[in-house]
């Protein structure tokens, strides 16, 4: 017999899923929010996004090649694009180029590659980059341009975001809540904030797409959003003068983006449904606590990073439901 036969253990079948399929599905799911950001913030959003993605790709490529000395580059697996997009989505659209590049360097160079690249990083790289910038450039990272200045970049005029108003209310300014934009405006994204977080509608479309494609499961997004709604709802019921109603909490700031795209990051979230729900509930609780009682108006990034640190413990504690259990 001339033909050489291949020998291996079963299974001799693969469903065809790949790292690329999952990563590019996330990219695709981010497209509606990306379009929304162009519509709301115009040129600035485009510049920030392109810079962030390009910088992340460049840093991943050069670190893989020159520092790790690996032959095969992981730059095409799509994860650096996702990191770049998510970092950009968490920045104001009037942020200067050099700050974005520093953010990308921290995200990829400190948040991801030192651990061995995709799969091994303990913290969400985009959030590591964002929080580094937030602490290093507090003023530039907390002034957001007004919506509708389609040709402006760093010269855009800035305005208070819904979250800033909610913070003022929670710290005693009784008039602040009255200045909040309507809930419909928040839902479609016509309000100030980081460039990718504003349109709840666009983010939800992306989230439904990811669940439909089985890239993510419902456990984390639903438990984060559910907890934010319940905890902020309790506070609102206690004192509606000081605290905004739960819909405002759900539809403003980074909650939607965080719950659907950042907390669900494969690498840094727990492996079992039970662990994912505990993780999601804790993130939701921390978000509301930081928003209402912390010194920052927004707590999504911190909440997710804090819970990233608990992921190994949750994996150890929360075993899947075994057969016959």
């Amino acid at each position: 017999m001339a033909q050489k036969l291949i020998l291996s253990q079963s299974p001799h079948y693969h469903g065809g899923d790949s790292v690329e399929r999952n990563m590019y599905s996330v990219v695709l799911a981010l497209v509606p929010a990306l379009i929304a950001s162009f519509v709301v913030f115009g040129l600035g959003a485009l510049i920030v996004t392109v810079t962030s993605v390009a910088a992340c790709l460049l840093f991943e490529w050069s670190i893989t090649k020159y520092i790790l000395g690996r032959e095969r580059s992981t730059v095409s697996d799509g994860s650096a694009i996702v990191t770049g997009l998510l970092l950009a989505f968490n920045l104001p659209s009037n942020l200067p180029l050099y700050i974005i590049i520093i953010g990308a360097l921290v995200a990829i160079g400190i948040g991801k590659m030192p651990y061995g690249g995709l799969g091994n990083n303990p913290f969400n790289p985009a959030l590591v980059g964002r929080v580094f910038l937030l602490l290093s450039f507090p003023a530039k990272m907390t002034t957001w341009p007004e919506t509708g200045q389609l040709l402006a970049y760093t010269d855009a005029t800035t305005a208070a975001t819904p979250l800033a108003l909610m913070k003022q209310a929670a710290t005693g300014n009784a008039d602040a809540l009255a200045q909040l934009p309507g809930i419909v405006q928040l839902f479609i994204g016509n309000n100030g904030g980081c460039l990718g977080e504003v349109s709840v509608l666009a983010l939800l479309i992306g989230g439904i797409f990811l669940i439909y494609r089985k890239v993510i499961t419902w456990h984390i997004p639903v438990s984060v959003l559910g907890t934010v709604a319940v905890v902020s709802g309790i506070m609102w019921a206690v004192n509606p003068e000081m605290f905004a109603n739960p819909l405002y909490h759900l539809f403003s700031g980074g909650v939607m983006l965080g719950a659907i795209f950042m907390a669900t990051d494969y690498v840094t979230s727990p492996m079992t449904p039970k662990g994912q729900i505990i993780y999601g509930v804790a993130i939701g609780f921390l978000i509301v606590m930081i928003r209402l009682f912390g010194s920052y108006p927004e707590g999504t990034s911190f909440a997710i990073l804090i819970m990233n640190a608990f992921t190994p413990l949750l994996n150890n504690w929360c075993k899947p439901k075994r057969f016959a259990e």
Partner: protein, 448 residues
Amino acid sequence: MAMLKTFKIGGVHPAENKLTKDKQTEVLLPPKQAVFPLSQHIGAPAVPCVQKGDQVKVGTMIATAGGFVSANIFSSVSGKVSKIDSVLDASGYRKPAIIIDVEGDEWEESIDRSEQLVKECNLTPEEIIAKIKDAGLVGLGGACFPVHVKMMPPKDAVIDYIVINAVECEPYLTSDHRLMLEHPEEILVGLSIMMKALNVKQARVGIEITKPDAIAVMTEKAKAYSGIEVVPLKTKYPQGGEKQLIDACTGRQVPPPPAIPANVGVVVQNVGTVYSIYEAVQKNKPLFERIVTVTGKSVKNPCNLKVRMGTPIAQLVEYAGGLPEDTGKLIGGGPMMGKTLMSQDIPTVKGTSGILMLPETESVRKEERNCIRCAKCVGACPMGLEPYLLATLSENSDWEKAESDMIMSCIECGCCQSTCPSNRPLLDWVRLGKTTVGGIIRARNAKK
């Protein structure tokens, strides 16, 4: 329509590729030389009871069971014993086998070769089990566990259900499907005999809804038999796994090893096995023939063949149009749990349910990447295990933790590895872990 039954956790949906489901079973002529490995079942190898030069007929016993958990082996051909030698078998090792040169096709007179259905069975349970044991029956689903052992459950176990595995959840394979279409009555008589032998009043036949014709004919015919219910099941792999099938058909769940189905009052048999019980008890025909699906996307004439055991696989491949040029793997069984064969000279045995010729493009594993911790393997595992973790623990030789994380519960269905986006060889590692941890457990028990 009511919700279809299925097992509760995990599972995947591999492409079905049932190329031969509409192909009538054809009869393959006996080979020129037949090879009978002495170890083609779980348990002790059989012991030859013929010598070089002996004349045998079709249905002559050539090797006797080597212990309680073992099975007799019968010649599928008539002719002369050429030698008893070691030959390559499906395990990839050379093992002892009886080799017979074929002359003519003369059958033992005791075998009833007529097609006529024999419904009546007046034997006692003991007599039925003795006949099953004598006929060398083993489970034909793949594991090849001697049937008579399952027919004698532990004394303290109360069996109230027989579950028949007619799921055939492996892609490509259609031998059970064809058997149900072509011999439904024989299967039902065989099942009634099993029920009598075990003194069980209720039986359930689990069939996936991808076989509507089989469900229809079996349901219709089952009306004439008391206590037999056909259960249509939602399609999901590995529904043919013993524990998954019991869960799907009865809602009962077998606890982790060492528990067996009898502990939850159930005995499971494959539908092909039930047919061979009919043949053994009603027709005096021992186990020496079976239906084998010979298939593959590039195969010229994929088919279902009634094959005399001992026939070299090359003859089956030849009948189906020869080994396609692009073949990468020759597999005994299906793509999920089958074994790759290293040669076409390997003989067909009791456990050969299919011969699959997989194109090279589907045979080569893709490059392994870092685990991205997507948890898809955890979601796919029908036993509720964490394959990513068990693989890593095995890689790191952390056997204690592997045992406490229930590595021994793995049924090796391959769901985890087939869903892994990073193409990690999860099951390879888990098998290594199971072998090692199994050894540790046996050594510990031996000390006690």
